[in-house]
């Protein structure tokens, strides 16, 4: 126990004096969580505003053309800007990049509302949509669809109004302008309980926590490689200190570091993100919290073991920074940390299954979003613990081989 206490004290002091290591472990993920939660705030909300502006050139100026403009404005998906007076002005504005879309309502729009496409034998001027050619085609299509829907609703209301008058039914003086589209709320159904899909904070807090936990590779390899290069490992071996003691001496302090990271990241999610206008993180309670911690503990073991493996593979701290840093970023990229897995195409989602970070994130999401029980997180726990065991065995073997 004296030996282990000495090893733990040494690792703790060494880490506390490694400013770069501390920054990588604590400051970087906090910044990531805040920035990414804010940046992706809308990406996780179905039907939220799209930051694309449009203008309406109302050449008709009738109550009907104004009604269509109002109905479009109520959808809220696209941002409306001040209307130009002429089509030429609109063309110039689009060219200058002031907005991407301009809908031209032709003269006589109101009069011809109920006789589209020359139904009465006279030509009807079409609605024109001017677009910035660089605008995403999906967004162009979305705007066309919204316009068609608003137009359809306007016609239906107008028809009801006219028909009512024709048949002597009671109607209001002006057709009611209903909100459009009728709000559709997305719900994901799992385990017989209806919950909402992950919000930005629910995706980003566990994702960047996993990323940060794996970054223990930087301080762990910095210390282990210095020990090897300086002959300290030889000295300790000559003192009769078994290598497994050395591994244990590193596992516990960095396990504790990972737990502190978890508490800090969750605190940032609960109290920090709302300060910047985001939604607060909701944590599971009761048994859910225990399951959450089990996932965190398994991620920590896998992260520290992988770090020890990288530290054993690398000969210099530069190498370990590259192998560890780039390896982490790759694992994060394919594992759904940087881009959420549900946004990836099928092939990439299959590839993601091979990243330990994906197992980790999946484990957290199982507890936080699907309210999964122990059996539900068990597959991810087993994968993470197997990864930890393999990495530790490989690290021990490499160190034996280097000294023999």
């Amino acid at each position: 126990m004296t030996r282990l206490t000495a090893l733990w004290t040494k690792e703790t002091l060494a880490l506390l004096r490694d400013r770069h290591g501390l920054a990588a472990l604590f400051v970087m993920p906090v910044i990531f969580i805040l920035v990414m939660t804010m940046a992706l705030h809308d990406a996780f909300m179905p039907g939220a505003a799209i930051d694309v502006a449009y203008a309406i050139v109302d050449l008709d100026g009738s109550p009907h053309s104004q009604s269509l403009a109002r109905r479009l404005g109520k959808t809220g998906s696209f941002r409306r800007v001040a209307d130009p007076a002429t089509t030429d002005a609109a063309r110039a504005d689009i060219r200058a990049g002031r907005y991407a879309l301009a809908l031209v309502l032709p003269k006589g729009f109101g009069e011809r509302l109920l006789t589209p496409a020359g139904a009465d034998g006279q030509a009807t001027e079409a609605l024109t949509l001017m677009v910035d050619p660089t605008l995403n085609p999906a967004l162009q299509l979305a705007f066309r669809n919204q316009t068609s829907a608003a137009l359809g609703m306007l016609r239906a209301d107008e028809l009801t109004h006219s028909a009512g008058k024709l048949f002597g039914l009671p109607t209001s003086a002006r057709p009611a302008e209903r909100d459009w589209p009728d709000e559709i709320v997305s719900t994901a159904v799992q385990n017989d309980r209806s919950i909402r899909p992950p919000s930005s904070v629910q995706q980003n807090v566990p994702a960047w926590l996993v990323f940060a936990m794996f970054f223990v590779v930087i301080p762990i390899s910095a210390i282990l490689i210095t020990e090897r290069q300086q002959g300290t490992l030889q000295r300790l071996a000559a003192m009769g200190l078994p290598f497994r003691f050395l591994l244990l001496g590193k596992l516990l302090p960095f396990f504790v570091v990972n737990q502190i990271q978890a508490v800090l990241m969750v605190a940032v999610g609960i109290w920090g993100v709302p300060l910047f206008g985001g939604e607060a993180l909701a944590m599971p309670t009761g048994a859910g919290l225990l399951h959450w911690w089990l996932v965190a503990a398994a991620v920590s073991l896998a992260a520290v073991a992988c770090a020890l493996l990288v530290a054993s593979l690398a000969q210099t701290t530069q190498q370990s920074t590259i192998i560890g840093g780039v390896g982490n970023i790759l694992m994060a990229a394919i594992g759904g940390i940087m881009v959420p897995k549900f946004m990836m195409p099928g092939a990439m989602q299959t590839l993601a299954e091979w990243s330990p970070m994906a197992w980790a994130l999946n484990g957290f999401h199982t507890v936080m979003l699907r309210h999964g029980d122990f059996a539900a997180i068990l597959p991810d726990l087993v994968k993470l613990l197997a990864c930890a065991a393999l990495a530790l065995a490989a690290a021990t073997w490499l160190n034996r081989r280097q000294t023999a």
């Binding site: 000495a6 004290t9 004096r17 300086q230 002959g231 300790l236 009769g240």
Partner: protein, 303 residues
């Protein structure tokens, strides 16, 4: 105390063995010098003695007990001071000593007492609160040595302990090391500095290409028969004289000579005076360690 008997060692994938049939006898209570050019096998031998490697052939015993058993019975019996600064640069001197004392498994009181003794021995009192990375080369060497003394080892293995230090620190280190046998610690000392070994070692072994070329007390090794001498002149040795005394050219007007009797020494000096040669140095009867080392290992560059 320590006996190495017919030990050989070959590294994995190495073409030639690092040690071949090495036998040494290191008696208790002295400073034993281990000399050899780079690649001679010194570090391999030290690694075997420190238990970092296991010999494939031969036996190593400490106080008549096989080394592995002796180390298992008392892991602190042999201590290694590596050539590098084998401690933690980000920890203070006191923290480093506390860590290594803890890693040795010393109990609290013993730890305190031995740390104090090590600090006093290496005169580190003024810098105990300083981080190791802020120490000068000499102080780092002293800390490296002080850590080696924790656990009161019977045998201390020192690998080039004076590299990169100023003359004052070197002199302090040498005096401290020379005083260790009196307090019960036998020292195995490797160095490239011949004058250091000559100054503090009682016995010496010269190793090259994995073999022991010479081993014995320093006095025995340096004593030579009267028949050979080394002379340094201000010009080349005249050909007639070179032939008569079987001279070998050692470079820079230095020559190794062979006399059939000591009477010939006086005669040579007369002959040189007649030939107009000035004698700058003449060694007869005792060589220095460097001469012996260079003669045994031959002068070729090793790396």
């Amino acid at each position: 105390m320590l006996k190495v008997d017919g030990v050989s060692y070959r590294y994995r994938d190495a073409a030639a063995p690092a040690l071949q049939d090495v036998s040494l006898n290191i008696p208790a209570g002295g400073v034993y010098g281990l000399l050899g050019p780079n690649g001679a096998g010194k570090t391999t031998l030290i690694s075997l003695l420190a238990g970092l490697l296991t010999a494939a052939d031969g036996k190593i015993s400490l106080n008549d007990q096989p080394l592995t058993e002796a180390r298992a019975a008392n892991p602190r019996a042999i201590s290694l001071v590596p050539q590098d600064y084998a401690f933690y640069p980000m920890l203070t001197v006191a923290e480093n000593l506390a860590f290594f004392a803890g890693a040795l498994g010393l109990a609290r009181d013993e730890r305190r007492q031995q740390i104090d003794a090590a600090i006093a021995f290496a005169r580190l009192e003024q810098v105990t609160g300083k981080r190791a990375e802020q120490l000068s080369g000499g102080l780092r060497r002293r800390l490296n040595l002080a850590i080696g003394l924790l656990g009161q080892p019977q045998l201390l293995l020192l690998d080039e302990p004076t590299v990169g230090v100023d003359p004052q620190s070197r002199s302090f280190l040498l005096e401290s090391i020379a005083a260790l046998p009196a307090s019960g610690t036998t020292v195995l000392y490797t160095s490239h500095y011949m004058e250091e070994v000559e100054a503090i070692c009682q016995r010496v072994a010269i190793l090259d290409q994995g073999r022991v070329l010479s081993e014995g007390t320093l006095d025995d090794l340096l004593a030579t028969a009267d028949s050979s001498a080394e002379i340094e002149l201000d010009q080349a040795l005249p050909a007639a004289l070179a032939e008569r005394y079987a001279a070998t050219d050692l470079g820079h007007f230095k020559f190794g000579l062979f006399f059939r009797s000591t009477v010939e020494v006086a005669r040579l000096l007369d002959e040189l005076a007649v030939a107009g040669c000035t004698v700058r140095q003449l060694h007869v009867g005792r060589q220095n360690l460097e001469q012996l080392f260079m003669r045994l290992t031959r002068r070729s560059l090793r790396d």
